[in-house]
Amino acid sequence: MEVINLILSLLLHPSIFVPLIFPGLITILVVIILLIWAERKIAAKIQMRIGPLYVTRRFGGVLQLLADLLRYMFAELIISKDSDKLMFIASPIIALTVTLLPLAVIPAGSLLGIELIALRTSIGLLAALTLLSLTPIFIIVMGWASNNKFALIGSLREGYLMISYEVPMYLSALSVAILHGSLDIVNVVNNQQRIWTALINPFAAFSFFTSMIMSTSRFPFEITESDSELVAGPYTEYSSILYGLVMGVPYMRLYVFALLFVDLFLGGWHPTIDGFSSIILISKVLIILLFSVFLRSVYPRYRLDQAIRIGWHSLFVLSLISIILSLLIIGFGGISGC
């Protein structure tokens, strides 16, 4: 009995529960399976098609992605002769790991009295943004190690996009920190009890959301892996289970970004129910995720130069405006005066 109690207390300790169960690995897998199914179903509905149907037909093909993953598992792993073999195999794994790291510092409310944050620091926001900026490096490494034209062009595009979305994203995130006077995400969320940041500073929210769409290569910024021009961008040479990994990376990134977006702009777990504030949070995250994948069926793809122009001409200006707005609000008495 004591052993079970020990295991249970270990499992329910935030530093294990957060990365492993909620909002970590297991939740991510479930969310991704549902999300990709929803993406395909939404696109199909808008384009008057049916979408995935024949796997678990009674539920509309929910488990299609599971079947796809199973197929990837048993496919042959082909590593081309001239590729940099170590980096070719290691970079998807590192990219996946690095994508999940920010979950340690992003708070996810509380569930049954457990505060769901693995590591609370006074610079949580900076740490989250820094960890989030590591993934594109490994996507570029994937393209370089593949020794393939399409992969190289794809990773170059990722590099170009990266310099155009990261600056506005960080500026708009920091304008939130200025507004709430804290870099601790828990403080930022608790400050939004009365009014959400997105309502006080909509420029920052818009700029952050668009950069988020850009960085996770959702439409209309699906430029990195544009499958009609470059076969699959940096992921061209990947096959088998490694392709399963790299295909999941942008979706996991989208999930982590959505979590951060909800925490910073949509009031996190407020308005809350005692003990189940995570449910509020995850439902907001799901709405954001569904909206992001819904964009696929509305937009065509921007050209690379158009995307970079949007990054520097619109989003950068908007994020500067959002910083000025935050400073003005602070100057006129802060958020409590709103």
């Binding site: 939404i42 509905k45 008057m48 098609r49 049916i50 819904f294």
Partner: protein
């Protein structure tokens, strides 16, 4: 400048609302669920070939007219009578289903079956020798519940399929 930004924003919102309208509108789908629903084809639909060996005189006009070079004449020995006659064979890897061979045939030995749903496990099966051509193609559908439908133009939904 500001007016342009606002109008751009308005167009983006309008695009999203259009998408949302399509998402929420019920039942507008034009997919034909193929093995379950089979389209009833028109009367003169061409499809794959069938040879009536009684009528065939082995003149070779079909292989001459064939624009894709799919038909060729081979000597065929009948098992019972030991009679040897010239009959066409067809290679469906090359066939473009134009139906010229049927039009040119002087004795009306070739006919069109109107069957087009033929799938093969091996590429060599696409080559129809004389005896298979005499038997003709047959549909081997995986689904037992498949039913025939006809397509109709609907003003609201585009294409609808009606059961026959």
């Amino acid at each position: 400048m500001v007016a342009k930004i606002i109008s751009n924003f308005y167009y983006h919102i309008r695009a999203m609302l259009t998408g949302l309208r399509y998402l929420l509108s019920p039942g507008v789908r034009i997919t034909l669920k193929y093995p379950d629903e089979l389209l009833l084809l028109p009367e003169n639909y061409r499809g794959m070939l069938k040879l009536n060996n009684e009528l065939c005189i082995g003149c070779g006009l079909c292989s001459q007219i064939c624009p894709a070079g799919a038909l060729s004449l081979k000597l065929f020995e009948y098992e019972q009578t030991k009679q040897i006659r010239r009959h066409p064979e067809v290679d469906y890897k090359r066939c473009i289903f134009c139906g010229f061979c049927v039009d040119i045939c002087p004795s009306k030995a070739l006919e069109l079956t109107g069957i087009h749903d033929a799938a093969f496990y091996v590429g060599d099966e696409l080559y129809y020798e004389v005896d298979r051509l005499i038997t003709g193609p047959k549909i081997d559908l995986p689904c037992k519940k498949s039913k025939y439908v006809v397509s109709e133009i609907d003003e609201v939904r585009g294409i609808v399929y009606r059961n026959v």
